[in-house]
Amino acid sequence: MDETQSKIKEFLSRFFKNHDLQPEEDIFSLGFVNSLLAMQLVAFVEKEFGVAVGDEDLDLDNFRSINAIAQLVARKRGAAA
């Protein structure tokens, strides 16, 4: 797990206590994901990784797992470079 994935896992672990979240695990299937968490997740990605999440990124698949979020971050960083 690289640094980006680790940071995402650390953040998500606040919401999934007592559960060792795996990189490909679907967080939406675990419950306790609501619109409040979704917006926190967007804010986390923007602050932690310095990327801007726009309306074009509003796709549940971009936030479905640690790896999906990491790939979104990588794409956004690539687009910004």
């Binding site: 953040f11 919401f15 609501n34 979704a38 917006m39 967007v42 309306d55 509003l58 796709d59």
Partner: protein, 377 residues
Amino acid sequence: MNLELTAAQRAARAEFRAFAAAAIAPHAGRWDREEAIPAALIEELRARRYLGSNVPEEHGGLGRDLITYGLLTEEIAKACSSVRSLLTVHDMVAHAIHRWGSREQRERWLPRLARGEVLGALALSEPDAGSDARSVETTARDGGDAWVLDGRKKWTTFGQIAGLFLVLAQLDGKLTAFLVERDAPGMTVQPLRGVWGTRASMLAEIAFDGCRVPRENLIGRPGFGLSAVVSTALEQGRYSVAWGAVGIAQACLEASQAYARERRQYGVPIADHQLIRRLLTDMIAGVRAARLLCLRAGWMRQSGDPLAGGEVMIAKYFASTLATRAANDAVQIHGANGISDEYPVGRYLRDSRVLEIIEGSTQIQQINIPLFELQEL
């Protein structure tokens, strides 16, 4: 977290306070009775750049920091909650467009909202959809060259005069947000009168009957109208309402202190009676605590903290319930005068009750705040 305001923030507050005391507070009772605020005041708010002041500079706004923004809200609310509610809903729409609008939408709307040339309003609530926003029944369908909206919205603050409405509708069962201009064909706005809190907030009921909305006016993505677009607007609204509640509570405190010093019973000013002092003490401590929660929420929002949303809810919950208690006690301190139009505290009480209902009722905050707090345990 720095608890001290900067020199610029203190100077801005002094300006807001002087304006509100001179141009708003003396007239707020009359506007309340007339159920409207005058166009001349809105023009003055425009000229002072108090509308849309949260719009970033690159889009023609002032880009006020969130603490200064809060101070503006408090000072306006202290004078008149209805005027504060104009800033609230207008800035909610601007905030949502800035956050989730396409580049074209931002370029088109934000400069105009920042100048107050067009007033924004949030058309979310319906006759049968309040706290349960997911249950909105307004529909949108693909009408070829436009989206077609059908349904009813209710309690739309400043809907009577707004020019741009952020509307939540069901598009093929997906909650979706649209920007609807006032002159959209098939849209009818009716004034909603007879409310008894924030009476001058010019509420409206809106009917969409085959209302055609340009395709480019869908904001965000289908299915994200509530979870992203409207939620973003509501967080801004909660932040504004929290500061607005501090403003009401501060107004209650100042009115009560002045009255308690002047009013004499049993041969002494009632401020000398211990039970009156107890009420004043609760107000003094409560206002300070509520303001600190607002400052904390503001600092966290300003820094982009992912947990800021929860802090805004806590600030809104505490400040709005505090405002109601403070207003209730202010009326009590004023005795029979408290229920007279000759004193403003009755208006403060009516207006404070509204704050426990809008932007997530007290009960909705009580349900949601533990979700945030549990994360940190």
